[in-house]
């Protein structure tokens, strides 16, 4: 998968108009200078040679050097990746905390007013573009109510350089016991993760509801009810735990939606993550960085499906590898 995507992206960005040299030097540079620069970057070689060289590099875990800035692609990415990870983890948390309980509740009260209301909420929130929800949150909670900051990961007075350890600011601030900074970081996370999480929760409401309906129809639920176990634990313990296995499978598939949502959320909230890196560099036609970002996104998707498979086996004893 990684190999195929890499090939597609490699070919596409090279056959399309524009190249890093003209992006860097502007349109009026003398031909000689352009040729020299191209030779320096290796862009004058045949495409197939460039491709071979690049694959060789990637196979050695080297994503190359940016063609615009003299910076290793890996270091550019490791600067930005933690921000995206932090955002997506908290977004996912919001999604699960909102989507799963609401879905389970809707299934438990099937065809009631609440059920329709929850399903309607699910459909409507799914159709709200994540960037627009972000803008509305910024306007309401940031500008009008002034409760939360609307941009960046920290306030200007909290210096990122003071806690450069993992790049995950929550862990960094905990490591140096800076509670004020931790609070600042958390406040900055509220709106972006709510935005990202709420939009994705629509899908989880539907998934949880559909799976819960299947589970609640099964014999062991009837048996549990018959034994006189109270309704709440039957539904939310016996039921939800069993419904969780298919939900988890779907979660693996939603990772790509999560990533797409994160890119847009980052742009709305000026969040210095992978999405912004991609957008900045794509204008400059910085081939190695674009390819590197794509590789990392593909790796995250693959890694998450692996994690899901592992959790799958852990929570469902019937699955053994």
């Amino acid at each position: 998968m990684l190999f195929i995507l890499l090939t597609i992206v490699f070919v596409v960005i090279r056959i399309m108009p524009g190249d890093p040299v003209s992006a860097m030097l502007g349109g009026h540079a003398p031909d000689k200078v352009i040729e020299a620069k191209k030779a320096e970057l290796g862009l004058n070689k045949p495409l197939i040679v460039q491709y071979g060289n690049y694959l060789w590099q990637v196979a050695h875990l080297d994503l190359g050097t940016s063609m615009i800035f003299k910076q290793k692609v890996t270091s550019a990415i490791s600067d930005k990746l933690p921000a995206t990870i932090e955002l997506t983890i908290f977004g996912m948390l919001v999604t699960l905390l909102v989507g799963v309980p609401l879905g389970a509740y809707a299934a438990d009260n099937r065809r009631s007013g609440q059920d329709y209301l929850i399903r309607l909420f699910g459909i409507v929130i799914y159709c709200i573009p994540v960037y627009w929800l972000g803008l509305m949150f910024q306007m309401i909670f940031g500008v009008w109510l002034d409760w939360f900051p609307v941009a960046g990961r920290t306030s200007p007075r909290v210096f990122a350089s003071t806690f450069e350890q993992t790049g995950l600011y929550i862990i960094d601030t905990l490591l140096i016991n800076d509670w004020k900074a931790l609070w600042d970081v958390l406040m900055h996370l509220v709106l972006p993760s709510l935005t990202l999480g709420l939009v994705l929760s629509g899908i989880f409401i539907r998934l949880t509801r559909a799976n819960m309906l299947d589970v609640l129809r099964s014999d062991y639920i009837l048996a549990a009810e018959a034994r006189g176990i109270r309704h709440f634990p039957v539904v939310y313990k016996h039921g939800l735990l069993n419904a969780f296995v298919p939900i988890l499978t779907m979660m693996g598939l939603q990772v790509s939606l999560l990533m797409a949502g994160a890119v847009l959320t980052e742009s709305t909230f000026s969040w210095p993550g992978m999405g912004r890196l991609l957008l900045e560099r794509i204008y400059l036609r910085d081939y190695p960085t674009i390819q590197g970002v794509i590789v990392i996104f593909a790796l995250i998707v693959a890694f998450m499906s692996l994690i899901v498979d592992i959790i799958y086996a852990l929570i469902d004893p019937r699955v053994r590898y």
Binding site: I4, V12, I128, W132, M139, V301
Partner: protein
């Protein structure tokens, strides 16, 4: 039976409520979705007639005026009328989303049918490519395409279309694999029907039905992707009126409190996407109640 318009109307409404009783909420979801889409399509078609101002007119009113009786949705920083831009913007987004869905369905369905029918290495290679694209975040792929192509209607349409091809491909390929084992396909082959005839006459009619639902949902999704791309400043030149671009422009005035600039384009994007999702959802439930349970 009377043949007056009122009687026909009465029968129509009777038919509607009858369907409503038969299918319950799903029918009403479908109707509401269809009404939303119909309304916005009508708005797009009649844009020159109903828009109060020219969407490019940079002297339509005062700069950044809040909604008033003269400018129902206010004006932007270039003194353009927001309502007129919303009305004309519907043309762009509907055109791009529907065209993109058409392109990806035509490409996806034909590739899926050929691939599933022919099998072998061709099928394996194509499936592998499609699966890789499918699992990757579509938006990021669309961003790459949109940024690389010259801004324009065709470029953004292609960027959006590319990411949905695997959806159709996977669906149609799977169905083709089942259908080609059916007895009627085998008998067609036995009497010597050429492969193209088998594909066109026996397989295509059987796969096309299920793609209708996917197509509707696809348009709803494509609307959000189109607006996302233009919101990020990709794909379209500034001379085209577009909701996503207006949203991005309005974002600059968010801290100073010009709420109307971001509220209305966003409401329109959501409503249009909602219309298609509701239509698709209603269709899915009515055509195949089990489809959405998964």
């Amino acid at each position: 039976m009377k043949h007056s318009p009122t009687a026909a109307m009465g029968r129509l409404i009777g038919g509607f409520t009858g369907m409503g009783r038969k299918y319950g909420a799903e029918w009403w979801i479908l109707i509401i979705g269809a009404l939303i889409i119909g309304g916005i399509i009508l708005m797009a078609l009649l844009a020159p007639l109903i828009a109060p101002y020219d969407p490019h007119d940079q002297a339509a009113g005062p700069q950044l005026a809040p909604p008033s009786s003269e400018h129902l949705l206010g004006t932007d920083n270039l003194q353009r009328d927001v309502l007129s831009r919303i009305i004309f913007g519907a043309r762009t987004i509907l055109g791009v989303a529907i065209l993109a869905a058409l392109i990806s369905s035509v490409v996806g369905i034909s590739l899926g049918m050929f691939s599933g029918y022919s099998g072998g290495t061709f099928d394996k290679t194509l499936s592998l490519i499609m699966d890789s694209v499918y699992s990757f975040p579509g938006l990021i792929l669309a961003i790459t395409f949109a940024a690389m192509l010259e801004p324009g209607i065709m470029s953004i349409t292609i960027a959006v279309a590319v990411i949905y091809i695997p959806t159709y491909f996977r669906l149609v390929r799977g169905q083709t694999l089942t259908i080609k084992e059916e007895l009627y396909v085998e008998s067609a082959r036995a009497i010597g029907a050429p492969n193209l005839v088998i594909l066109g006459k026996y397989i295509f009619p059987n796969v096309i039905a299920t793609t209708a639902v996917v197509f509707t949902m696809n348009v709803g999704d494509a609307i959000m992707i189109e607006a996302a791309l233009t919101y990020l400043g990709l794909g379209l030149p500034p001379s085209i009126v577009d909701w996503g671009m207006d949203l991005a422009m309005g974002k600059k005035f968010l801290p100073s409190g010009q709420w109307w600039l971001i509220t209305f384009p966003g409401v329109m994007i959501s409503t249009l996407a909602l219309g298609f999702t509701m239509l698709g959802e209603g269709l899915a439930e009515i055509l195949n109640p089990r489809l959405l349970e998964r």
